[in-house]
Amino acid sequence: MIEVHLWSSLRSLTGGQQVVEVEAATTGELLKELVRLHPGLQAPIDAGVSVAVDGRIIATGLSEPIPEDAEVYLMQRLRGG
């Protein structure tokens, strides 16, 4: 199981949980599982998210591997100038 840390305003979409557990080997699977377990997360994921895996921020890639004991944070999609 991978512990996924959400940003705190997402708690209202997960029944108050800020850390949720999912089974996933890639960033794409992770997002799919998040929505399956917490349908409320569909909206923020559709609006755009990044996934930080062990501190490396993955902005878009859905096939990035997630090691078993990885630290995973869901983040808002980053934008640049």
Partner: protein, 750 residues
């Protein structure tokens, strides 16, 4: 990714050769957006709303259309109202609404109609004959007022899932993040400082106005030449707005006269194409400066509350920030980015940050160098400076004590990989500037700054010529000398001279999709792709050498521009230079090219520390920046001169933002300062030399260790200058810009 395979000894990288486009740019030969002509070309002009908020009752263009010089008039009806698959939704709809008003005009300068005529003068004359009947609506331009209960609603239903119930409809996105227990943290503090800050909207101020030349036939095939940071996004957006297939529109990026984030979207390009389709002739559209200010994408304005607790030894016990950003009449103000970046330089146990995206009757904000970060840093670093002053702490020591490092938890959540903030602070402490005595009336300011950086879709091709030279095709417009950096990186891998490599910005028909030149991504992502494309070509060169020598390809390696046997057992062959392999490549297997495409995901975050000395004239309120030092982590500087240039440019723009630049709206909701005389950007006589220190803490996510450098440089200046001015004037400055009237008022209230 391990650092083990990262290259650290270089032949070409880190040198400072002349840029390949230098000659064209000093002789006037370089072709920018407005420098293009086409046979049969018409000139376009755009009619803009004089009202901040109004319903369009009627547009009557019949008098304009009757003129013989006028060949087309377009309004919103000429764009893709009927959704073209996959449909105009979300951001595309916002862009269309911004490019040409629909039912309402949402800000002063919003486009309502456009004309194409046989000359620029005829087009401008024709605009005066278009009659628009408006029903003027109440407007709001201030961020705090736009959130009040009685504020006019700009668009019902624009808020997304994130906005808690009970907020004004003008609040369209909400972000909250952090960790720990801030209340407990404040209770542990010896001193808590709480304060509020305001920054005004500024403009990127690129010297080249938006310009394009578009041609679109009734067959749905088109050509577009434009000044842009990203021609693929221009292609995709224009195609969607006009209801044509993306691949049928070929977009060529001109030389770009500055962008800084402001040329990452489209404004006039779809209009030129719509006019062209209607007139059946190419149409050139060029904005004037006033249009650039009124109707492109300035920054957000911001209103912010900060609370930070500190122990007497300088340890931060808790930090809290609320950041309200106004981003014009559309969703998009980067309140979330402000919140996530504001405390990122510090290793905090207890932190909470809240960001709001608020709409108002102003032009749709666009990115401007690290969008959202500078204003947050201004507020946070001002409070840190105040804490240092009140506790008698050295501002660099305090920051070193709390600085984030590898393994510490970022304020936005994850654990940092290898980062270079501590190294920039140590360099600041050791820099002669930091220990230089100040003259009476001067103050010194320090600030740190953070930006994420970005990877993005990237595609690069590299082709070798028979004579052994190489051409590299990249898809990221060169704004600040990136062609030089690409050539250096290709030279490093191929082992041929820098001068033998020509780098071209390919058009959309010549390369796969490339994300925009933004997010400090060009040297990182296009650089990474150039390195990999060059390695791809080297693999093929080694194959040809192996075939020639009759040995296995893994017995061949590439060294100093030659194929050589990989060891004594591989055989005894003289090194085979690249040019000897390419000379007969047609007969040994065909042309040799390398290609790489990916969305690299290892951009690596970046930090900087700035030191500023400022002097305030108490009579006039005028501030002079007397000394400025930028220290920033570049990961690895490919062309150090152009890295310095990014640092200096960021600092100069920050000085403008801090001291003079602001959008000033009247009670009528109209922009009052839409020319450079009144919107005053720094001129040569305003600035000192800007000293730079390039810190190099390699980014684990790039083969040479590159971190983007374009954006971070604008994050610290606002705060560093505000701290210097506050220390010089003896009063905390809480609003930017610190223009002379605001300084005089602050001195009076002291």
């Amino acid at each position: 990714m391990a650092l083990d395979d990262q290259k650290s000894i270089f032949t070409f990288v880190g040198t400072r050769p002349d840029r390949p486009d230098g000659l064209d740019k000093v002789t006037g030969r370089a072709r920018f957006g407005a420098d293009a002509h086409a046979p049969g070309m018409l000139h376009g002009a755009i009619l803009r709303s004089p009202h901040a908020h109004a319903r369009i009752v009627k547009i009557d263009a019949s008098k304009a259309e009757a003129l013989k010089d006028v060949k087309a008039v377009v309004t919103r009806a000429d764009f893709a109202e009927v959704p073209f698959e996959p449909g105009l939704e979300g951001e595309f709809w916002n862009v269309l609404e911004n490019v040409m008003a629909g039912e309402k005009t949402l800000y002063d300068g919003h486009a309502v109609a456009a004309v194409a005529a046989t000359s620029a003068l005829a087009a401008r004359d024709a605009l005066k004959l278009i009659e628009v009947e408006y029903e003027v609506l109440p407007h709001v331009t201030d961020v705090d007022k736009a959130m009040e209960a009685d504020a006019p609603v700009i668009r019902e239903g624009a808020a997304d899932y994130s906005v808690p119930e009970g907020m004004h409809p003008n609040v369209v996105r909400y972000h909250e993040s952090g960790h720990g227990d801030v209340e407990a943290g404040f209770a542990e503090a010896d001193l808590v400082v709480e304060d509020s800050f305001v920054t005004e909207a500024t403009h990127q101020g690129y010297i080249e106005p938006h310009a394009c030349l578009g041609s679109l036939g009734t067959d749905g095939k088109g050509e577009l030449w434009c000044t842009t940071q990203g021609h693929w996004i221009a292609q995709k957006t224009c195609a969607a707005l006009l209801g044509i297939e993306t691949s049928q529109l070929r977009v060529t990026a001109s030389e770009i006269g500055g962008g800084f984030g402001g040329k990452t979207t489209v404004f006039i390009e779809p209009v030129a194409l719509a006019l062209s389709r209607k007139a059946n002739r190419p149409v050139k559209l060029v904005m004037n400066r006033s249009e650039v200010f009124r109707a492109t994408g300035p920054t957000s304005s911001a209103s912010m509350d900060i609370k930070i607790g500190m122990k007497k030894d300088g340890t931060i016990t808790a930090a809290e920030g609320t950041f309200r950003l106004q981003g014009g009449a559309f969703p998009g103000a980067p309140g979330d980015m402000t919140a996530m970046c504001a405390f990122a330089p510090y290793n905090l146990t207890n932190v909470r940050q809240v960001g709001y995206d608020v709409m108002a009757n102003r032009p749709k904000q666009a990115a401007y160098r690290a969008p959202g970060a500078p204003m947050g840093a201004f507020a946070v670093e001002s409070v840190l400076d105040e804490l240092c002053n009140q506790l008698g702490l050295d501002p660099v020591d305090m920051r070193l004590k709390n600085a984030a490092a590898e393994g510490s938890k970022a304020s936005y959540g994850p654990t940092y990989e290898r980062i270079g903030l501590v190294e920039t602070l140590e360099a600041a402490k050791a820099h002669p500037h930091y220990s230089a005595p100040l003259k009476p009336g001067q103050g010194r300011g320090i600030s740190c700054g953070f930006w994420f950086n970005h990877g993005g879709e990237t595609s690069v091709s590299l082709a070798l010529s028979e004579d052994g030279s190489a051409q590299v095709m990249v898809g990221t417009p060169d704004i600040g000398g990136s062609r030089a950096s690409m050539a250096l990186m290709a030279a490093e891998i191929l082992g041929i001279p820098y001068e033998n490599i020509r780098v071209t910005i390919a058009d959309t028909a010549s390369l796969g999709y490339n994300d925009v030149s933004h997010g400090s991504r060009v040297t990182y992502a296009s650089g990474l792709a150039t390195i990999k494309a060059a390695k791809h070509a080297v693999e093929k060169l080694c194959e040809r050498a192996a075939a020639k020598w009759g040995i296995p390809v893994d017995a061949v390696k590439w060294e100093n521009g030659c194929a050589v046997p990989s060891g004594p057992n591989a055989g005894d062959f003289d090194p085979l230079p690249l040019a000897d392999i390419t000379a007969d490549m047609g007969a040994t297997g065909g042309p040799i090219s390398g290609h790489f495409e990916a969305t690299p995901e290892g951009a690596g975050v970046s930090f900087g520390t700035h030191i500023v000395d400022a002097e305030v004239d108490p009579e006039t309120g005028k501030t002079s920046v007397t000394r400025y030092t930028v220290i920033q982590d570049a990961g690895k500087a490919i062309h150090p001169t152009y890295v310095e240039g990014q640092y200096q440019g960021g600092a100069a723009q920050g000085i403008g933002w801090a001291l003079n630049e602001e959008y000033i709206y009247g009670e009528d909701g109209r922009l009052q300062n839409s020319i450079f005389l009144d919107y005053r950007i720094p001129v040569a006589s305003d600035l000192p030399m800007i000293d730079t220190v390039i810190v190099e803490v390699p980014n684990p996510g790039h083969p040479f260790g590159v971190r983007g450098v374009g954006e971070t440089g604008i994050v610290p200046p606002l705060a560093a200058i505000a701290n210097a001015v506050s220390n010089a004037a003896g009063v905390r400055m809480r609003q930017l810009p610190m223009s002379p009237p605001r300084i005089l008022a602050a001195l009076k209230d002291k």
